[in-house]
Amino acid sequence: MRRPGIAVALASVATLVLAGCATDTPTPNPSQSGATADAGTGVQSKFFVQADYDREIALLGATATGPADRPWEQVLDPRPVDTAKYKKPGPYKVCFSNAALNNPWRQVGFKTMQAEVEAQRALIKEFVHVDAEGKDPKQITDINDLLGKGCDALIVSPNTTATLTPAVETACAKGIPVVVFDRGVDTDCPVTFINPIGGYGFGHVGAEFLSQKVPSGGKVLALRILPGVDVLETRWSAAKVQFDKANVNVVGVEFTDGDPAKTKTIVTNYLQRHGTIDGIWMDAGATAVAAVEAFQDAGKPLPAINGEDQLDFLKLWKDKQLTAIAPTYPTYQWRTPVLAALKILRGEPVSSPWKLPQPTITQDNLDRYVDEAMPPLHYAMCGCTDLPGYPQRWK
């Protein structure tokens, strides 16, 4: 009877030691950090690209052209391209290959897009939508399918960048104007690529805020959703740069799977281990409320935190007077591709790439975004209040 126990013991110890070693070597024990040069943020992600980082940080400070109250029409650093060759008489058939609809952000975005299409009914006679359900191969065949349907313009929100490139190139080769948004593709063939500033900007804003608000020597916990997703990696790597620069004591970097229960457990464990945590950095706001709740339930002072523009967080922020900031990855960007497609079909120039501003919600403008009537997972930065069907469509 003793043998199996020992075997398991050895196996467990061995795996733990191995796994622990593999990660502990670059990451010194958090409790002794602070003194060392490395502040516990670990090695920089191998996916970090300095040039992209520099560009995005620069764009954060730039001023956008276009109507200030309609940020989805604004452009940062505009570079107009001619679209005369796509000009044709309306009304148009617009097709949309969507990566997925499997999270609230995409749901809010897609509803916004549908509303925009409805607002443009005079110009759009048919809007075809295909959902790839988060599967690369399916999106490739979806795009192939759409090419057989006589679309006047094709909007693509790629599931992943590299893998969708060939399919988008095939679409371009058909001669119809292609508009790509959210995630990009590795080709210049689309007429334009629309997205906000990006992940480096997002990560930087939160980290910069925490660097200022967390007292010197204070402990910061970084919570990430998943490893191995490009848009999330950029957010963290920008934060890491900022934390290292400001010499912030990052006591841990953990993955939550976007699961509030896991988030709460992790934060609880850290509170237990470190007594207090002074700041929480998050690469996505979905579990921000759970993180704050962990502090409430443990009876600890609430930390400085960054979330996102989801209303549950904004409401909590307002109610509990959090020290918080909310960088956004605005859902209003779902309006822009429809507008861009119509512009292109009318032969009007558009900027390529089309960089949208990426507003940040701060204590100062918080009240503008909190709307008690909207559901908790609604994204405040949807730019949808002027669209047909508001607010019912988003409820």
Partner: protein, 336 residues
């Protein structure tokens, strides 16, 4: 005929098979000793890195947090020991949390009716799983896989892709709050009390006639049937227990962390893994409820341990996989 024939001298033929009852109980396959050893080991490893984990307050809060998965594993135990699988529990947890949020819509007055409704829904799902498996003779792996697809699809469809509404504080307190300032213990989470109640209830059930019959059904359904057991009904009861356990888990999880589509993600695999770790044989007929619950506790301890040892998040699955495989291999080799 006289008694001579039957009254054989005990002699060699009646010699006892090695071990005898006591040893047989502890060591026989399906016993709880191996999982206790593993759990103790993990606790020792935690003690080395994080001694204050064992302060009553933090220990109790850990147990409270582990309650949902332990309850799920307990429900899953009955299904597995009766010879079936329930892959639908994770999606059921998600569905329950999302349904609760939408129906309660942050209105405390609706809490209790909705909780009642959730139990009704859990019961319904269990009955459906059980009837499809037993009367239509669909292997439960397929039945509950189909149920998984149906529940996930339906709940997304119904909520239009994003959870809406909100949970009331009344609903959330079970998973979130605790009795404060309990003498000696400090903070006693409600979830822990719920766990204890469920555990006692299910342990009593597993020792009842129905519970023992359930194991026999998993061992040999034909024998059970020819002994007067209503096999279909018995298995359906197991699925119902699993469905109700998922409901309790959903109430605790929703309470603990609020509404999200992630609430039950992957929990079916966690629950099955826990049950198997606890020495319960997939295929039925062998294993103890206590083992299954300890298996779940062991998994939760493992997660906490990896946390304390700073195992990189990306590698966590690897470590988890290795430890599960190691433990199960030892069990499998021992059985041979």
């Amino acid at each position: 005929m006289t008694a001579e024939v039957t009254r054989e001298p005990e002699g060699a033929a009646a010699r006892p098979v090695a071990g005898g009852v006591v040893r047989g109980r502890l060591v026989r396959p399906g016993g709880v000793l191996p999982i206790v050893v593993i759990l103790a080991l993990l606790l020792v490893l935690i003690a080395i890195q994080q001694p204050d984990f064992f302060q009553p307050a933090s220990l109790l809060s850990f147990l409270g947090r582990s309650a949902p998965i332990i309850i799920l594993a307990a429900g899953q135990y009955f299904v597995i020991v009766s010879g079936e699988f329930d892959l639908s529990v994770g999606s059921l947890v998600t569905a329950q949390v999302v349904v609760a949020a939408r129906l309660i819509d942050s209105d405390p007055g609706r809490t209790w009716p909705v909780v009642l409704l959730l139990f009704g829904f859990g019961l319904l799902v269990g009955v459906a799983n059980g009837l499809v498996t037993t009367t239509l003779r669909v292997p439960s792996f397929i039945t509950t896989l189909g149920m998984y697809l149906i529940l996930v699809g339906a709940v997304y469809l119904w909520s239009d892709g994003a959870p809406r509404g909100g949970l009331s504080d009344e609903f959330r307190r079970f998973g979130r709050l605790a009795f404060e300032d309990v003498p000696l213990l400090g903070r006693l989470p409600y979830a822990l009390l719920v766990l204890l109640a469920v555990a006692v209830l299910l342990l009593l059930f597993s020792r009842s006639d129905a519970g023992r019959t359930l194991v026999a059904v998993g061992d040999n359904p034909r024998t059970a049937e020819l002994t007067g057991v209503r096999v279909g009904r018995t298995k359906t009861v197991a699925f119902v227990i699993s469905g109700l356990a998922a409901t309790v888990a959903a109430i605790l999880l929703g309470g603990y962390s609020g509404v999200s589509f992630q609430a039950g993600l992957g929990l079916e695999f966690t629950a099955i893994t826990a049950v198997v770790l606890g020495g319960v044989a997939l295929g039925g007929g062998r294993g103890a409820l206590l083992g299954a619950m300890l298996g779940a506790l062991t998994l939760e301890t493992l997660f906490t341990l990896m946390n304390f040892y700073g195992v990189s998040g990306a590698l966590k699955s690897t470590v988890q996989g290795l430890i599960i495989l190691a433990a199960v291999s030892v069990g499998a080799l021992r059985r041979r």
